[in-house]
């Protein structure tokens, strides 16, 4: 393993100063970073361990009705916070559909947002990868790519963002609070991740030293609690990334959809907000036809990047199903198999 410096700053300001240096990277739970280092994919000179910083592990209800989730809140802790799960059920369901119980216990909210793609060519250091080594080429493009992107990809990169958590967050207009050398700022989560274009090595809009300190859900996000689901199709019931996933949230008034939110996971280099689909649902009754129309709108720009044309049809069907489930109403309890098409089958204790 490459030798590296390990620093444990006492304050956010110290952390930013330490991480702004070239070759430095933040370490939270390390559920992704340590694997990347063991695989020689990431070779940082300095790890800035933020897990001992004070005040980043709180879940706070703010005066304006929004919820502020500290970046160091654990994924499992957040998902199992009863009040949180009640107010933002699709987010809790997505969290519980991610990784494995052991990883969820370790992983943090901030780290989850910045996890790297699972493209095999990114991980295989003998392959060409524009994301890992700018300008080297993309071996995924003509390689084994049945799980790669169908939206927003470029010839430089067809990788997907693997997070489940980000999908309902982006649907609910989550905001990311960032501390950096220039002070504090906040951006919409939808603007955090970049599409690859010609610079897939630049995955987010963060500058060196920028530290995500919190994720905020605006007050309006609570308005969807009665009709919000996350649905994830994967190749095994737990511990597998989504082939395609969707978060659907509806505000239904007098039998009509007052407002719809829809985002897709596993389809692009970022959690994919489907605004055109949301627009066609506004003000209409929650019918199968409306959901079909929304699905066509959501995937209108999709195109295969390889052996993955099926993902477009699958994504359409997942959109329809997720909207149908959301319209039926959030279940009283999160199912034992969260986000699974088999959530309704009995027998499973948990995934």
């Amino acid at each position: 393993m490459k030798q590296f410096e390990y620093v444990r700053p006492a304050t956010v300001a110290e952390a930013i100063a330490a991480a702004a240096q070239p070759g430095a990277t933040y370490l939270a739970a390390g559920t992704n970073l340590l694997d990347l280092m063991k695989g020689n994919v990431s070779r940082p000179d300095r790890l800035v361990d933020v897990t001992h910083l004070d005040g980043l592990d709180q879940i706070e209800r703010l005066a304006d009705g929004s919820l502020r989730i500290g970046a160091l809140v654990g994924n499992a802790d957040l998902a199992h916070d009863a009040e949180f799960a009640k107010a933002y059920p699709a987010v809790a369901e997505a969290l519980l559909a991610g990784a494995s119980a052991q990883l969820r216990n370790a992983a943090t909210v901030g780290g989850n947002l910045l996890q790297r793609t699972r493209c095999a060519y990114f991980y295989d250091t003998a392959s060409r990868c524009n994301k890992r080594e700018a300008g080297s080429g993309c071996d995924a493009r003509d390689g084994e790519n049945r799980t790669h992107a169908v939206l927003g990809w470029s010839d430089s990169c067809i990788a997907t963002h693997p997070s489940d958590f980000c999908v309902p967050l982006v649907a609910l207009d989550a905001v990311v609070e960032i501390e950096g050398r220039g002070g504090r700022r906040e951006i919409a989560l939808d603007e955090l991740h970049r599409l690859p274009g010609n610079t897939p090595e630049r995955e987010s809009v963060l500058a060196p030293g920028d530290l995500i300190v919190a994720v905020r859900l605006p007050a309006a996000a609570r308005g969807f609690a009665a009709h919000a689901r996350y649905l994830k199709v994967r190749e095994r019931t737990s511990y597998a990334f989504a082939i395609v996933s969707a978060a659907a949230a509806l505000r239904i008034e007098n039998g009509k959809i007052a407002e719809a939110r829809l985002a897709l996971g596993g389809v692009a280099a970022k959690p994919w907000r489907a605004r055109a689909a949301e627009d066609v649902l506004k003000g209409v009754a929650p019918t199968a036809d409306a959901f079909q129309e929304a699905a066509w709108r959501a995937l209108a720009d999709a195109k295969p990047s390889g052996d993955n044309a099926y993902k477009i049809e699958l994504a359409r069907r997942i959109v329809v199903r997720a909207l149908t489930l959301a319209a039926a109403g959030t279940p009283a309890r999160i199912p034992a198999l969260p986000a699974s098409p088999f959530a309704s089958t009995s027998g499973a204790i948990h995934a």
Partner: protein
């Protein structure tokens, strides 16, 4: 290695027969406390860490290694390369016997597959050795890689599996097909799979002068020892291998592979003990795998659904430098009573590590294709799949015409079907739904695996304090040898299991053969049986020949050993304890050796196989294509069951492996580079707990007087066969979509709504 402290829970203390009792594993407490010493847990003083640098190309040669950069790294002690390594006593390319495979031990710069070892870095710490391997920054001359089942010109190998004929014939297949009323002709594909034992291959090698101490997981202590002896030119008695526990093997730890040999070379090079452990991704190359197959099945049946012909051809691959051929088509030899059978194989060479035995080699790959095809044939004939199998039930082994030594398959079908509720199955596919609207499908498969025997020895002792010992270099891969073999030993010595010191897992004990072919309990058990009988006979001689003994003169009548006593067979009131016999005779102990081996006469006369029937229920989301197995019932007849608890665990494991074969497992090889793109347990999918439904195993009573003295057939591998096909057939029954490429992927089920 400290003395093993094996335990039994008090509830399991028993008197009388140990065989047949469901003892929990005696090494269980050690394992849950982390006190079971696996190979990599050994740290002799002065030990260094060795890390393999592996090739990132699949074909070509290494043109440069930056040895200086690696050596400059703090903590790096040595770099072993083709130009700088200890000499071996023989060329590692020479096959001295059929169980020797060619290995890469830095004999040249040539690269034959991805992940081939190309150098070894030895350092004071694991971290330093790991970074040293990165700093070597190898450069290559890359040649085009041969990848896939169509990589080149096919050829017919001389043998498949272990010396099986490449082709077998019975009757006239072409005539049978021509005369058939109904026919199918279908092609099935299975992918490359890797053993992925939880414990990676590891070695701690320690040279002490010309003596060599090795800690290494092995399924074949004496085979490994013999290979080490010939590679390093040292006498057998200078080598000691300890292998008390294996964290799984599944065939990948059966034969000595290159990496442990590199560990021994590294220790020799630096003159200090060395530990070498493979990284997970390095297990995808030099330590064997299951080769991919493409199998064509042509089956004909008459108007009544009786088979007229069965033609099974399998294409597979081997490496460019050695030969192992997955004998997939041989699965069609024993199960179904076709009057005409042809099985054949061909192969292409690809840039891969040499394929090897992997749990049910040939049987697993062949079974999923055959059981799928039989299911298709039943549907074509308009028959229930179980009724079709019963119609074509083989009363004698079809390919040889030999009677079976025993075959309780009919009972397996009956009991499994009853437990599952098979009679309520709809004939048509896509007819069943659950309350949530999910498609429900039921499928079945027949399980079979040969009842094999190898050779083994054991040494038995009875001591004056009334205790006994049984020594045998047997292997516990997790299947429970420490427990099951000790149970046999206890019965053979006529002692409670707690009074028997059972020794295993070390090369200084009598040769137990290999833990493979589902034959270890039968083989080692036969040796234990024979050694136990011999030592009891010696003890009986002491008693029956001594007029002071109450057993005097019982020589012709015979005596029974029970509870530490010998008693007259014809008068159980007369007997005496082992302690009394040995005390009076003035000896500290008596000992005897025994041998277990196959009986050639019985093998000539009978076909010997275990059988089973597996029933599976799957649910499939009709729109999204995701599949979930919701129920499995397996009924197996495998002769005598030594420990029902361990046997069920073995069968559960096999059934889960079958589920995995049908739905999950696949090594994804980049079609251009020949590199495996999912060489880790995150992306090489096996079922997680949430994928495994409640499993129901029935062990069907079966008495077999011919297979061996104990009537044991073995259960290590049979659970995979039948199960994989049952799941695949259930997916068809649920959806109406017949997928012939495994594992079944979601996209194949999206074609229909």
């Amino acid at each position: 290695m400290p003395e093993l402290n094996l335990t039994s829970a008090p509830a399991h203390l028993r008197h009388g027969s140990s065989i047949g009792q469901p003892l929990t594993r005696r090494d269980g407490v050690l394992k849950v406390k982390g006190q079971a010493t696996y190979a990599a847990d050994n740290h002799p003083p002065g030990m260094l860490f060795a890390v393999i640098a592996a090739s990132s190309i699949a074909h070509g040669r290494v043109t440069s290694l930056d040895v200086a950069a690696a050596k400059r790294h703090p903590g790096v002690v040595e770099v072993m390369t083709p130009d700088h390594k200890p000499q071996l006593a023989i060329d590692p390319e020479i096959k001295t016997n059929p169980f020797v495979f060619r290995m890469e031990v830095l004999q040249s710069n040539e690269v034959r597959y991805a992940n081939q070892p190309i150098a070894v870095v030895i350092a004071e710490t694991l971290e330093a050795a790991t970074e040293g391997a990165v700093l070597l920054a190898p450069r290559y001359e890359t040649l085009p890689a041969l990848v896939g089942l169509d990589a080149g010109k096919s050829y017919v190998p001389p043998v498949v599996g272990v010396g099986n004929p490449t082709e077998n014939h019975l009757g006239d297949v072409d005539a049978g097909l021509a005369a058939a009323d109904k026919k199918i002709d279908a092609i099935y594909e299975t992918p490359a799979q890797y053993h992925n034992a939880m414990e990676p291959h590891a070695i701690v090698a320690h040279w002490d002068g010309d003596r060599l101490q090795i800690d290494m997981p092995t399924q074949g202590l004496m085979l490994s020892l013999a290979r080490v002896a010939e590679l390093f030119g040292i006498a057998h008695d200078k080598i000691h291998i300890r292998s008390p526990f294996l964290g799984g093997g599944f065939g990948s730890k059966g034969l000595m592979a290159g990496p442990p040999a590199l560990g021994i070379m590294a220790a020799k090079l630096v003159g200090r003990p060395v530990k070498l452990v493979l990284r997970r991704e390095q297990m995808y190359g030099p330590v064997g795998h299951r080769a991919p197959t493409r199998q064509r099945l042509r089956i004909g049946a008459d108007v009544e659904g009786r088979l007229t012909a069965l033609d099974h051809h399998a294409r597979t691959v081997s490496s460019t430098f050695d030969d192992f051929y997955e004998p997939a088509a041989d699965a069609s030899h024993t199960l179904y009573a076709a009057p005409a059978i042809r099985t054949s194989h061909d192969a292409v060479r690809v840039n891969t590590g040499t394929p090897l035995f992997m749990r049910a080699p040939g049987e697993a790959t062949g079974s999923i294709a055959l059981e799928s095809a039989i299911d298709e044939m039943a549907w074509t004939c308009g028959m229930d799949p179980l009724a079709f199998r019963l119609k074509n039930y083989a009363e004698v082994e079809p390919i040889t015409g030999k009677p079976f030594s025993s075959k309780a398959l009919r009972a397996c079908y009956d009991q499994g079907a009853a437990r599952f509720g098979w009679a309520k199955r709809s004939l048509q596919p896509r007819q069943m739904r659950d309350d949530a609207g999910l498609l429900v499908g039921w499928g079945m498969g027949t399980a079979t695996f040969p009842a094999l025997m190898f050779q083994a020895q054991a040494r038995a002792v009875i001591r004056r304090d009334g205790s006994g010992a049984m020594e045998i270099g047997a292997h516990d891969m997790g299947q429970g040898a420490w427990t099951a073999l000790a149970q046999i030993a206890a019965d053979e010595l006529g002692l409670d299991i707690e009074r028997v010191e059972f020794k295993a897992g070390s090369s200084d004990l009598p040769d137990a053969g290999i833990a493979g072919g589902s034959a270890h309990t039968a083989t080692a058990g036969a040796a234990i049986h024979s050694a136990g009988a011999a030592v009891i006979a010696k003890l009986a001689d002491l008693a029956t020949g001594d007029e002071r003994s109450p057993l005097f003169g019982a020589g012709n009548t015979g005596v029974i050993a029970r509870d530490g006593r010998l008693i007259r067979r014809d008068d159980e009131s007369r007997g005496e304890s082992y302690t009394e016999i040995l005390a009076r005779a003035g000896v500290a102990e008596v000992e005897a050796r025994g041998t277990g081996a196959p009986n050639p006469a019985a093998m000539e006369e009978y076909a010997m196989h275990a059988h089973g029937a597996v029933f599976a229920e799957v649910k499939v989301d009709p729109e999204l294509g995701q599949i979930r197995v919701t129920r499995m019932v397996g009924a197996f007849a495998a002769g005598r069951i030594v420990n029902p608890h361990l046997v069920k665990s073995q069968l559960f494991g096999g059934m889960i492996w079958g589920l995995s074969f049908a739905l999950h497992e696949e090594a994804i090889t980049d079609r251009r580079s020949g590199r495996i793109m999912n060489a880790n347990l995150g992306e090489y999918h096996i079922p997680v707990n949430a994928d495994v439904p409640p499993l129901d195993v029935i062990t069907v009573e079966e008495h077999d007087p011919h297979v061996n003295a104990l009537g044991i057939k073995g259960v290590g591998e049979i659970g995979i066969t039948g199960s994989a096909g049952a799941v695949a057939n259930a997916v068809w029954h649920a959806t109406g979509v017949r997928v012939r490429r495994f594992p079944i992927r979601i996209e194949e089920l999206l074609t229909q709504r």
